[in-house]
Amino acid sequence: MSPRVRPRPPVPADLPELPTSLRGAGRVLDARLHLLDRQILDVDDVPVTTLDDLLVLTADGGELTTGEQPAFVDQLLTGPVLATRVFGGRPPASRWVRIPWADVTDVGVAVTLGVRGEGLDATWVQRWLRDHVIARIPGGRHDPG
């Protein structure tokens, strides 16, 4: 056996593995490991923004305070999180840009949407800069070449 092969898994062996009946049959994701801080691409694979957080609600859209009710991810959230990552806390609810989970078509290295980024609130800064700044620069209204 190659010395590079180390068969012993780091996962604790003394804890029972979660049976499928409790875990569910779908694809398993860990929020921090597989979703948060991933890039969000639109239907044309154009970068839209990054996934900063997730909104979790009950099945009927209610708020959660205990685990008595099943919890589901309802929206992807993006917003001005740089300062709160450094100093703590999180942006107020009014500052989040929300993308419904219904727009998600694939989760991989990036999160892919089934809609065009042009129509999302998450890209309004880019659109404003394009229309009000870039467009006023000579040659800024057409592709180079």
Binding site: R4, R6, R8, P9, P10, V11, P12, A13, L15, P16, E17, L18, L22, R23, G24, A25, G26, R27, V28, L29, D30, A31, R32, L33, L35, L36, D52, D53, L54, L55, V56, L57, A59, E63, L64, T65, T66, G67, E68, P70, A71, F72, V73, D74, L77, T84, G88, G89, R90, P92, A93, P100, W101, A102, D103, V104, T105, D106, V107, G114
Partner: protein, 125 residues
């Protein structure tokens, strides 16, 4: 509830602190919205020693580079999964929006392996 409020939150049970929430486990088996099922919260990954996590070495079969694996596996030893049904209260900042929540578990909750996939079947979901 903002999922990020749960991350790094202290976890309490039976009157004592067990550790910190390092991640939230989801499974894509909720109501179908658009083309995909909505992710359902299965449980919380709790580490006794640190609220930070890095690359998920403690829940996958990945064991290279060996030095990084050994350090991070040691750093996160004792990490366990607790089911969402065992959470009896999420209080504090999660309700006020300040981001410093506290998670309470029911007495007699069960600890499960944090492995993403059954051992030996690969690390990728």
């Amino acid at each position: 509830m903002i999922l990020g409020d749960l991350l790094d939150a202290p976890v309490y049970a039976d009157g004592g602190q067990l550790g910190f929430v390092v991640d939230v486990r989801l499974v894509l088996d909720g109501p179908v919205k658009g083309l995909r099922a909505a992710p359902r919260v299965v449980g919380l990954l709790v580490s006794a020693r640190t609220g930070a996590t890095f690359l998920g070495y403690e829940r996958t079969d990945t064991n290279a580079p060996a030095l990084v694996w050994r350090y991070l596996a040691w750093r996160h030893r004792g990490t366990f999964l607790v089911l969402w049904e065992d959470v009896v209260g999420v209080t504090g900042g999660a309700q006020r929006g300040t981001g410093d929540a506290r998670v309470d578990l029911r007495p007699g909750f069960r600890r499960w392996s944090p492995a993403l996939a059954p051992t030996g079947t690969g690390s990728r979901p």
